[in-house]
């Protein structure tokens, strides 16, 4: 027993642990500055955000120790139970959760608020690792791909119901894991397109979306088949069907929207075109057509769910996330404030505790999602460059560790860690500098908040533990 514990301490990748400690420390410094109050200057003041964060960091050290003390087999065998438990918690949060800022994502246990969605990420990563490391599972099989996708989608869908779109979008990161494990690049592309389509459908008018889809399909058809005449013929048939439909309805004095015309003419066009496609064996056209119809039905159902099934407050919440109804002062206010704060930092920054923009609460949620503003304002370009560069080093270290694993379980898990951290870092920083829509997700180890800090720590230290035993792993 004594021997093996010593062994573990010797095998731990201390470089990663050191990087982790540096990130957490610099994060705390910035939270201290962003929430600084002259009346409560002590770091340990529990009434202040930095005080709380400080105690949470101390607690993470305990958590990290416990995680390192457990045998890797524990994570392997308890992957499914933990996953099911987190799904159960996500359901519970919908029933008994507390609503903060229009979204029900917290459970209060004995005065402590926890956010199950944060822990669902860890559980999902474990189960995905367990599933993809099974000997006969391969992503080249459609059935296995569907199962792997379901593992990812189940928690994401429950989180969407809260509705906490930001945390749900994080699960998109797992696509990188699937890619590394053999997902076909085309599937990746189509999946990506559908995500884009999902967001566009909610932002843009449905008629325009349908028009764009149709145009895009014709364009792709032209590029893929390289038979301009065929594309033109197809387009003419579609337009003609639509025209007849519109004319007929108008003559009958029945109002008909452009959306319905396009939608119906595509369906009618299918009936007319199908024999041609079949006779000429236009496989690629057929696939393209299938994707187009699917995309149409998809936009239709997204629209339907959004307008008819969701409650008004859920709609508002999603609109806020997508920036449609976001800012109290009109579009782009939050991001503008964030840019002003970062921009005012200049090359060297205003100095620790000297930031003005981030002090007046002009930047919303400034010690949580917009903590990067404080870095930008007080530490300048040197600070932001340093933080990004350091994050990249940290991410590359994880990627390196993931690739050096012998067991598939550890590798897949490592990739999940890498993907989740990458997604959080890139999206969070991207939104503060106006290059990404504001979908409130935290910056790992920097943002204020116990739940997210603990979840990120657990995520990372499980991997460090797996890595320590990489030479002995038999699963």
């Amino acid at each position: 027993m004594e021997r093996s514990r010593n062994n573990i301490l010797g095998r731990i990748d201390w470089l990663t642990v050191l990087m982790y400690l540096l990130l957490v420390t610099f994060g705390l410094i910035n939270i201290y500055s962003s929430a600084y109050n002259e009346a409560h200057p002590r770091l340990f003041d529990f009434s202040m955000r930095y005080g709380k964060q400080f105690y949470w960091i101390l607690l993470t050290l305990v958590i990290a120790t416990v995680i390192l003390a457990l045998h890797p087999r524990f994570y392997y065998f308890f992957a499914w139970p933990l996953y099911l438990l987190s799904l159960l918690l996500l359901v519970m949060v919908l029933v008994i959760g507390a609503t903060i800022h229009g979204s029900t994502s917290w459970i209060s246990v004995a005065g402590v608020h926890i956010q199950p969605s944060e822990f669902a990420k860890v559980a999902t990563a474990l189960v995905l690792a367990r599933y993809l490391s099974e000997y006969n599972v391969t992503l080249e099989h459609f059935r296995d791909l569907v199962k792997a996708s379901l593992i990812i989608i189940a928690p994401a869908a429950l989180i969407m119901l809260q509705p906490d779109m930001g945390s749900a979008f994080v699960f998109i990161a797992f696509i990188l894991v699937l890619y590394r494990e053999g997902l076909r690049a085309e599937v990746l592309l189509i999946g990506f397109l559908f995500i884009v389509l999902f967001i566009i459908t909610l932002i843009v008018d449905k008629t325009i979306v349908l028009g764009i889809l149709l145009g895009l399909a014709l364009l792709i058809h032209l590029l893929v088949e390289k038979k301009p005449l065929l594309t033109v013929k197809g387009a003419v048939i579609l337009v003609a069907t639509g025209g007849i439909l519109w004319l007929g309805m108008t003559l009958l004095h029945k109002g008909i929207s452009l959306y319905t015309v396009i939608f119906l003419s595509l369906l009618a066009g299918t009936v007319i075109l199908l024999p041609f496609i079949y006779r000429l064996k236009l496989v690629r056209t057929a696939i393209l057509y299938g994707v187009l119809i699917l995309a149409m039905l998809f936009t239709f159902s997204v629209n339907y769910v959004f307008n008819n099934i969701l409650e008004p407050h859920q709609r508002t919440r999603i609109n806020i996330v997508l920036g449609i109804e976001s800012d109290p002062y009109g579009s782009g206010y939050n991001v503008n404030q964030s840019k002003i704060a970062i921009g005012s930092g200049g090359f060297t920054g205003k100095g620790f505790l000297r930031g003005t923009q981030t002090k007046f609460n002009f930047v919303p949620e400034q010690s949580t999602d917009f903590i990067f503003c404080t870095v930008g304002e007080e530490w300048g370009f040197l600070g932001t460059f340093g933080v990004i560069a350091f994050y990249i080093l940290f991410l590359m270290r994880i990627l390196y560790l993931a690739e050096r694993q012998r067991s598939a379980f550890s590798r897949v898990y490592g990739y999940s860690v890498f993907s989740l951290f990458s997604f959080h870092v890139l999206v969070n920083i991207g939104m503060t500098i106006g290059l990404f829509p504001v979908i409130g997700i935290p910056l790992p180890f920097f943002s204020y908040g116990g739940s997210s800090l603990w979840a990120f720590t657990i995520l990372l230290f499980i991997f460090i533990r797996l890595d320590a035993d990489r030479l002995e792993m038999t699963f």
Binding site: T99, G182, G376, Y391
Partner: protein, 615 residues
């Protein structure tokens, strides 16, 4: 062990993707932090000041486009403690006309809240003080004035319908990120239910301010400013003249008047008495008057028209008649005897002395209790249904179709649903199958467990006026910049009773008011010489004191333009006060003037509040 080494090369794609995005970010940061100088503040002493641009709240007009609610400017004095330098508090206090100790105390509180964030030091400075202050502002760094608007009432009426505006609570701020500490929000009435339309959208202007508290200009030429959007103006459906007259008549009485336009469901007036002057709840006034209004035992803040529930009394006979006719357990020709009441198996329901027997129309005219006890029993003992449970459910379903037992859905907050009992209620009170139509007989004449709001009663009058349907009552007619109000206010709700039956009920209600003298009409006092008013009186039993006087009516008979319900608490019989008030209201609305001044005087001189207290 599983091998996916053929995909190992993908690590470079993944790593490349992440590094590429990071590089884009770094270039972006280089641009906004180093290359683009305009983000930098020109001198280190300069600070940005964000001044919220509060849009003017939407105006409210009445149905004749008379301006009722508008805005007046007000100014809050704000302070950012960290920017304050030492100053002459005595001079400052004289300038503001605020005691010196209040300023010191306010400043202390603001500092405790935050040294760096702005707090309100003095709320709603008068315009004159503001003019004087703005010249001397340079002497007081760290202070600035935040313009706002307050409600201004051009006509002091309809307080319950209009509602009031007040500061947002912490809870609302948590729920809706639009609101910030110190913002105003509609708290009741139209101000609350149309808050989203009325409030418009806040904007923000960012100014550069130098060390001498002088605004040096807008930051980056206003590139990051957002314009405030003015709130939408509303046209309320009420008639200010009628509303004022209703409030005038209800003076010194407790109760309410609701008048509807039957064809549209628009609320023509909604009086709840005693009321209050809406100005008492504006700005600084509110702190003074609100506690008194809350503590008043007559509850002036309570909108009786939609929040009080009373038994309908005899007005309910009309409903039972319609249901009986529709279910074919009653025909207009049916005659029932009445010998000063209804007697059956030990149950006795009294009635006044009148000729007997009566047919249906006469029974409505004279309001015979015995007749309607028979009708009610016909409905509940209908052989179409195997047991009373089914016939009761059927009867209750009819009532729900009329809009009883649930909120009608008016566009005002806190509408009460009223009360309809269900069979389990009686199972609990008696035992299962231990009750019969005779047990429930008090509901035949609208007493017992029933509870209707005055709005539901007015809606009943509108339904009869329309001979079979109603439109959901609403208090807002038009929203500026919108094609129409909510679609649900334009849908006709059929109550499921044939028009021909309504014609019979209307005939009875006509005779209530316009029957020959001496024929037993119960509300001849409501008769107006050249307007055909149809109505029905009611008296709600009140276990706590004198009965409530009720009247529901509509007019003119053939082309109804107004449907009305009047409740006078502790007013005794329906004909005593409620009927004359309804009649005066109808005359006022349809003719614009009152010919029967003696009736008006009689109502005006009646004091049911203080008279009661003297006893």
């Amino acid at each position: 062990m599983k091998d996916t080494s053929q995909y190992a090369g993908r690590r470079y794609v993944v790593a490349g993707l992440v590094i590429l995005i990071a590089l884009i970010y770094i270039v972006r940061l280089l641009t906004i932090q180093v290359l683009d100088k305009s983000y930098r503040l020109s001198a280190s002493n300069n600070v940005l000041r964000h001044i919220t641009q509060y849009p003017a709240r939407g105006l409210i007009y009445d149905r004749n486009h008379t301006l009722i609610v508008s805005n007046e400017a007000a100014y809050d004095l704000m302070v950012i403690p960290s920017q304050v330098e030492s100053f002459d508090t005595a001079e400052f206090s004289a300038l503001l006309e605020v005691p010196e100790k209040d300023i010191r105390e306010g400043l202390r509180k603001a500092t405790v809240y935050s040294r760096l964030k702005a707090s309100i030091l003095v709320k709603q400075i008068p315009a004159v003080t503001y003019a004087r202050l703005s010249e001397k502002m340079y002497k007081y760094p760290g202070f600035y004035v935040q313009p706002r608007t307050l409600r201004y009432y051009n006509r002091h009426l309809a307080a319950h319908m209009l509602g009031y505006v007040g500061e947002v609570t912490e809870k609302t701020i948590q729920k809706d990120p639009y609101y910030k500490m110190g913002d105003y929000i509609g708290i009741s009435g139209i101000e609350r239910s149309y808050e989203k339309e009325l409030r418009g959208r806040k904007g923000v202007k960012i100014y550069l301010v130098d060390v001498h508290n002088r605004i040096k200009g807008s930051y980056r030429h206003g590139r990051y400013d957002t314009a405030a959007v003015v709130g939408a103006n509303l046209t309320a459906s009420f008639d200010a003249g009628l509303q004022a007259y209703g409030e005038y008549l209800m003076n010194n009485k407790v109760g309410s008047i609701v008048a509807l336009e039957p064809a549209t469901g628009e609320v023509l007036c909604m009086v709840s008495s005693p009321g209050y002057d809406p100005e008492l709840l504006v700005g600084r006034n509110r702190r003074t008057y609100f506690p008194a209004l809350v503590q008043d035992t007559l509850k002036p803040l309570f909108n009786r028209a939609i929040m009080a529930s009373y038994p309908p009394g005899s007005t309910f006979k009309v409903v039972n008649a319609l249901i009986g006719l529709q279910e074919k357990v009653l025909y207009p020709s049916y005659k029932y005897e009445c010998h000063a009441g209804y007697y059956a198996a030990g149950v006795h329901v009294g009635c006044h002395i009148h000729r007997s027997p009566l047919n249906l129309v006469e029974a409505i005219q004279i309001s015979c209790n015995a007749y309607f006890c028979n009708v009610f029993r016909n409905i509940l003992d209908d052989p179409k249904f195997p047991t009373i449970y089914q016939s009761f459910e059927n009867w209750k379903h009819h009532l729900e179709m009329f809009g009883f037992g649930h909120p009608l859905g008016i566009d005002l907050p806190n509408e009460l649903s009223g009360y309809l009992p269900d069979t389990s209620y009686y199972d609990r009170y008696y035992h299962k199958n231990g009750w019969s139509s005779l047990t429930l007989i008090s509901m035949a004449i609208g007493q017992g467990e029933l509870g209707f709001t005055p709005l539901q009663m007015a809606n009943l009058a509108a339904t009869v006026a329309n001979r079979g349907y109603y439109l959901t009552p609403h208090v807002v007619k038009e929203i500026e910049g919108r094609d129409s109000i909510n679609r649900r206010f334009r849908e006709e709700h059929l109550v499921g009773i044939d028009r021909k039956y309504f014609d019979i009920a209307v005939e009875g209600m006509d005779r209530v008011v316009n029957g020959e003298p001496g024929s037993g009409s119960t509300a001849r006092i409501a008769h107006i010489p050249d307007i055909r008013v149809c109505g029905k009186t009611g008296t709600a039993q009140n276990p706590h004191g004198k009965d409530h006087s009720i009247f529901m009516a509509f007019a003119p008979k053939d082309t109804p333009r107004i449907a009305i319900s009047v409740y006078v608490e502790n007013g005794g019989f329906g004909a005593t006060y409620a009927a004359p008030i309804a009649s005066l209201m109808i005359e006022k609305y349809l003719k614009g003037k009152i010919t029967r001044t003696w009736l008006e005087d009689y109502i005006r001189k009646t004091d049911l509040i203080h008279g009661e207290k003297q006893k």
